[in-house]
């Protein structure tokens, strides 16, 4: 084999590393988690309301519901703000402002999640406790912090899809006498819809996957949440909190929680890929 041929094969081998790692992750998480799901039954694992590891009852419904509420809340905060920022960056900013704004968004993505959690803990939690009641460590606090954390994802992907629109869309609308605002609202946003939806789905994936910040501000009580001022536990925080000391079935149950999380994330990722892929073709 010549040197060129060898290098080509070698690079192909390297290039397959990401997909191999993904396969390894799936294999090892499933290998640890699936036996417990078989043993207890999928229904009783997913829909069970009782999580008492010491008594051998592993029902993750409260965590599934907790993850759902926190994620839903974060989208209410993050989507309008994120799309507005994307429009701002594409359509409204004077160059000087965007020179400050763009690095700021990158920085927002680079701030470690523990810093967000800490800020939520010392700023938002006391505010909520004093003004709205409840323990402060709550779904509301978690949603607000997560809503900010998913902004960079939503902004950058929405912005890309707005920028990818042909100039003629904008020029056509303006020449028909539409105001700038009407053009944005009635022409550009609908035209960039698929990219914006993809950005929201990816933001959702980030929100569901966040762990450390949520451990710090959600309060972590295993209970069915009834109000946004209540404490909650998500799928991720369940793993993060208990993994440190779990053994045997308990540890397997945490891996099984990981399996559920893995399926949710893969579903969301594939959905986002399909939606943005359809736009490309």
């Amino acid at each position: 084999m010549t040197k060129e041929k060898f290098l080509e094969k070698f690079l192909l081998f390297i290039a397959l590393s990401s997909i191999s790692i993904l396969a390894l992750i799936a294999f090892f998480i499933f290998e640890q988690g699936l036996p417990l799901i078989w043993k207890k039954g999928l229904a009783s694992f997913l829909l069970g309301e009782r999580w008492y590891p010491s008594q051998g009852s592993f029902g993750i419904l409260p965590m599934v519901v907790g993850s759902f509420w926190v994620t839903f809340g974060s989208l209410i905060v993050g989507v309008p703000l994120g799309v507005a920022c994307a429009v701002f960056l594409c359509e409204l900013t004077p160059p000087l402002v965007s020179m400050v704004f763009r690095p700021a968004i990158q920085l927002l993505a680079a701030i470690p999640s523990v810093i967000y959690g800490f800020w939520g803990l010392i700023v938002l939690v006391p505010l909520i406790r004093d003004h709205l009641g409840g323990p402060g460590l709550s779904i509301l606090a978690g949603s607000l912090v997560l809503g900010i954390m998913i902004l960079p994802t939503i902004i950058s992907i929405s912005e890309d899809s707005l920028r990818a629109l042909p100039r003629s869309f904008k020029e056509g609308a303006l020449s028909l006498g539409a105001t700038h605002w009407q053009t944005i609202w009635k022409v550009l946003l609908p035209a960039a819809r698929s990219g914006i939806v993809a950005s929201v789905i990816l933001g959702m994936g980030r929100a569901i996957g966040e762990t450390m910040a949520m451990i710090m501000i959600l309060g972590n009580a295993v209970q069915m949440p009834h109000s946004i001022l209540h404490s909650a536990r998500t799928l991720t925080t369940n793993i993060g909190i208990e993994m440190g000391y779990a053994t045997g079935d308990h540890q397997q149950a945490l891996f099984a929680t990981g399996v559920v999380l893995f399926f949710i994330i893969m579903g969301l990722n594939s959905l986002a890929l399909i939606i943005s892929g359809r736009r490309r073709s």
């Binding site: 040197k3 060129e4 080509e8 690079l11 192909l12 390297i14 290039a15 397959l16 590393s17 990401s18 997909i19 790692i21 993904l22 390894l24 992750i25 090892f28 998480i29 640890q32 703000l81 507005a84 920022c85 429009v87 701002f88 704004f101 690095p103 700021a104 968004i105 990158q106 920085l107 927002l108 680079a110 701030i111 470690p112 999640s113 523990v114 810093i115 967000y116 959690g117 800490f118 800020w119 803990l121 010392i122 700023v123 900010i148 902004l151 980030r206 569901i208 996957g209 762990t211 450390m212 710090m216 991720t236 793993i239 993994m243 440190g244 945490l254 990981g258 999380l261 990722n269 890929l273």
Partner: protein, 265 residues
């Protein structure tokens, strides 16, 4: 209204950083940076956690950079869009979306238990490497993509082989872009907690080898704040962490700008 949304976002970001920096910066002294934690972190400094952060990041970068750049070179220079490249891209996209706690679980069963590395710098660094790989691949690919076609044509016209073109033309020209991706990977490694708390242990003793367990700055900060060990120490550690992230990000931005200007000029 859109202006309000944009400045609200900017305001919250400044608020988050200012909150930590205002309380933390006055406590950030040379002694704090050069002394090791004492009494579980109630006093002393954060020197061993800085060393831990640097070592684990170094491991992650050393492993992820060749893999990431190799993948990008393969995707851009060695293959057309087809089944294999779609598979690779699918893997990269999915890997980018996997939550860090899942990487933590994986690192724990695979590196810590299965490969027998224990809670160590090596386990944590390798876990981080798998996590930052998609970032490095996508930035390296972008960097390679922006190199004008004429550069390649000249190299081939002069009789250069494919590998010579990659090694002598593509990589040197894409270097600043690749470094930007590496710096972004460094930033993620420095700030990561969920993936390494399960794989690198949380000992704040000075590491003696790659198999020593360590505690990074981010994990130290998390433990101080969550267990209420010392708010003062948490603020100071948080301030150090933010300054480090700021520096890394500024460097990445500066590199990127220089790169774009050179390609345009």
């Amino acid at each position: 209204m859109i202006w309000v949304a944009a400045f609200f976002t900017l305001g919250v970001m400044i608020w988050i950083m200012a909150q930590v920096l205002r309380e933390g910066l006055p406590l950030l002294t040379v002694d704090f940076l050069s002394d090791s934690p004492r009494q579980m972190g109630r006093s002393g400094g954060i020197f061993s956690t800085i060393v831990g952060t640097l070592l684990i990041t170094a491991v992650a970068i050393t492993i992820a950079t060749p893999l990431g750049v190799g993948t990008a070179v393969y995707l851009r220079e060695y293959t057309r869009e087809g089944r294999i490249s779609r598979l690779i891209r699918f893997g990269t996209d999915c890997l980018a979306g996997v939550p860090s706690i899942i990487f933590g679980l994986f690192g724990f069963v695979f590196f810590v238990i299965f490969l027998g590395m224990g809670w160590s710098i090596l386990s944590g660094g390798l876990t981080l490497a798998t996590m930052i790989l998609p970032t490095i691949i996508s930035t390296a690919e972008e960097a390679i993509k922006t190199i004008p076609k004429s550069y390649r044509e000249v190299s081939y016209a002069l009789g250069g082989t494919r590998w010579q073109t990659v090694a002598k033309v593509i990589l040197p020209n894409a270097l600043p872009g690749i470094l930007t991706g590496v710096l972004l990977g460094v930033g993620r490694s420095v700030g990561e907690t969920a993936a390494i708390i399960l794989t690198a242990g949380s000992s704040f003793l000075m590491p003696t080898s790659l198999f020593s367990p360590i505690r990074t700055m981010a994990i130290h900060f998390y433990i101080l704040a969550r267990e209420g060990i010392s708010m003062e120490m948490a603020y100071a550690t948080g301030a150090a962490l933010i300054l480090l992230i700021l520096a890394i990000n500024t460097a990445a931005n500066w590199l990127l700008h220089r790169y774009i200007r050179r390609l345009e000029g």
